[in-house]
């Protein structure tokens, strides 16, 4: 199955100013970028700010993207640079945190001053985790195997097809059906 960079069409649209197209790229990569940035910036609120900045920078720099690398590779570099620049900027004013530790906005941005998630949040996370596990356990064997080989082992559809001895199209369908089933289970929780 010949697959080129699946993002190129959206990149082309976004370059012409189609923000909806860029929005889809953000949705596709927001989890990865946030996780990446959290390796540099440990505070979640701060990491969200930096991630947002990285995406905005990427949007504004789209004309410079020539497609020589995959879009994600390019975005990844922007995110790393944004995180590093952010760290440099923050190191210039470390005293500010201590002086203004009573300021809720600054306290929120400081990983050392941020409060842990409250009991309500933890309960919701636990509920989501249990729902996921249950949904996964209830999946038919072939769907569970397909989604786990993809998400946990990181295998390509072709590799999964070989492992499961079925056509690539079947793999694609199984992964989709697995996601749909899990999605239906967790949707009430995520919508809240």
């Amino acid at each position: 199955m010949a697959v080129t960079d699946g993002d190129q069409l959206l990149v082309e649209r976004a370059r012409k100013g189609d923000r909806r197209a860029f929005d889809l790229l953000v949705l596709k990569y927001q989890q990865k970028i946030l996780k990446l940035i959290m390796r540099y910036v440990r505070d979640q609120t701060e990491a969200l700010d930096v991630s947002q900045e990285a995406f905005v920078k990427a949007y504004r720099a789209l004309p410079a993207f020539r497609g020589e690398s995959a879009f994600y590779t390019w975005l990844y570099r922007i995110a790393i640079n944004t995180a590093k620049n952010h760290l440099v900027a923050m190191q210039r004013k470390p005293v500010e945190y201590e002086l203004d530790s009573q300021d809720p906005e600054i306290a929120e941005r400081n990983p050392h001053l941020r409060e842990e998630d409250g009991p309500e949040g933890l309960a919701m996370q636990e509920e989501l985790r249990q729902t996921l596990e249950r949904a996964l356990a209830e999946l038919p064997e072939e769907l569970r195997t397909a989604i786990l080989l993809r998400e946990i082992e990181g295998l390509s559809y072709e590799e999964i097809a070989v492992a499961m001895d079925c056509p690539v199209g079947t793999v694609r369908s199984r992964i989709f059906r697995a996601r749909e089933t899990i999605d239906i289970a967790i949707r009430p929780l995520t919508e809240n």
Binding site: G6, R13, A21, P63, L132
Partner: protein, 195 residues
């Protein structure tokens, strides 16, 4: 039923494959056209991403980090708001063009410097010392050229400094090159000409 609702599972399956970078090129255009018109697809895409993150790292929920995954769901909304803010507008063309042109401009600059150096150096290179065997043979012409060069240098020096340099400069100023003041030149010439 409408065609749109019949196509929906197909679109969602394509969305799932696209998220994995496994969608064939021929289907991408169709999907993208659908995606940009469907607000539902955005939420679905985000949830598929969330499912993947949770499956890859179940500990995120246990360790109380699942909120990161949930936070990521807000990110697209924040980016959208930032881009819609006045002034952020469209992708910036100018820096990109500048960025693209920079290597060419640098190359052109280097080439230009190279050409200028070649033009300036050409006469000198012609008279530049040859390797050891040739140096003896070329001594006479090189000496003549060197002498000519020294004369020229001296003339230039006097032209530039002659007006203030006493006896020697008087001969130079006779040529009227310097100030075009015949009276002054005549006076100076009368004063300093040798008998």
């Amino acid at each position: 039923m409408t065609t749109g609702s019949q196509d929906k599972p197909r679109t969602d399956e394509q969305l799932s494959a696209w998220l994995d970078d496994e969608l064939p090129e021929v289907e991408q255009e169709f999907l993208v056209a659908r995606l940009v018109q469907s607000p539902d697809s955005a939420a679905r895409l985000a949830r598929y991403g969330l499912i993947g993150s949770c499956l890859r790292d179940p500990s995120v929920a246990v360790a109380g980090k699942l909120s990161h995954e949930e936070a990521a769901l807000q990110l697209s909304g924040r980016v959208r708001a930032a881009l819609e803010a006045p002034g952020s507008a469209t992708p910036l063309l100018a820096p990109a063009r500048r960025g693209r042109a920079l290597p060419y401009a640098m190359a052109a600059g280097i080439a230009l410097v190279g050409v200028l150096v070649a033009i300036v150096q050409a006469p000198l290179l012609r008279s530049a010392p040859e390797p050891m065997q040739a140096s003896v043979q070329s001594t006479a012409p090189a000496t003549l050229q060197k002498a000519a060069l020294s004369t020229r240098r001296m003339t230039n020096y006097l032209v530039h400094h002659g007006e203030y340099s006493g006896l020697l400069s008087a001969r130079v100023t006779e040529s009227h090159i310097i100030n075009g003041r015949p009276n002054f030149v005549a006076l100076r010439t009368a004063d300093v000409s040798p008998p």
